[in-house]
Amino acid sequence: MDMRSHLGRARGLGSSNDGVGHWWMQRLTGIALVPLIIWFVYSAVTMTGASHAEFSAWVGTHGNPILLILLIIAMFHHGQLGLQVVIEDYIHSEGPKLALIILTKFAAIFIGASSIFAVLRLTFGGS
């Protein structure tokens, strides 16, 4: 027997209030990160001991800034989604839980935005 209201069933949002949104986004960013992270690890290895000039040139070359920005977005989004689940699992009092989730999300957006800005600055000069 379905105990949900007709409206609740039609919306399909469940007790989380966003349905499978969190789950789906975690998978989507995870799948995106597979090729991006393989590319990044390869690139990072070639940058072992690189000088500032070499590193800046690499960041700004061809498709690298785009891949870096996509990597940063997928990585910070995936990371904060994962940390949210960890916080929800282990912190049981509502206040600290909410505070920590908000802090995690703000930190991810702030550091992510700063990283994207760094990529743009290294690409278009000005440093």
Binding site: V34, V45, G49, H52, G79, I111, A118
Partner: protein
């Protein structure tokens, strides 16, 4: 009955340690480690915008024994989380749920992570021009 007096499920210690549970918690722990690894990436990129000297400091910091230890941990965490993440995607499609398969893919993921971690560091040292 008051909410705080509800019976609790048994604590973790009473369960036998198995590859399934160990890899599950390792996935979570490596995920947390990698979230902090994202900060290392941010530091690396942002330091370069402050010019050659600040970037050089970042490079030497990452190249110090402590930096290398952190990066080694992150390398293994990354390959483990990548391999096990793909294993999770298989489960999402309903594949590989038989106990023998779960064990097999679990061992495969650990080997995958170990081998690629070693290979990546060999490549890194090759780029740097020897030990």
């Amino acid at each position: 009955m008051a909410a705080q007096n509800r019976p609790l499920s048994p604590h973790l210690q009473i369960y036998k340690i198995q590859i399934t549970s160990v890899l599950s918690i390792t996935h979570r722990l490596t995920g947390i480690a990698l979230a902090f690894g994202a900060f290392v990436l941010a530091y690396w990129l942002i330091s370069a915008t402050y010019g050659p000297e600040v970037f050089q400091t970042a490079q030497s910091l990452l190249g110090s024994w402590f930096g290398k230890l952190v990066l080694l941990g992150l390398t293994f965490s990354l390959y483990f989380h990548l391999g096990n993440g793909i294993r999770h995607l298989g489960w999402d499609f309903g594949m590989g749920f038989e106990l023998t398969h779960v064990r097999m893919t679990g061992i495969a993921v650990v080997l995958f992570a170990a081998v690629l971690t070693v290979a990546t560091w060999f490549a890194g040292y090759a780029v740097a021009g020897g030990v």
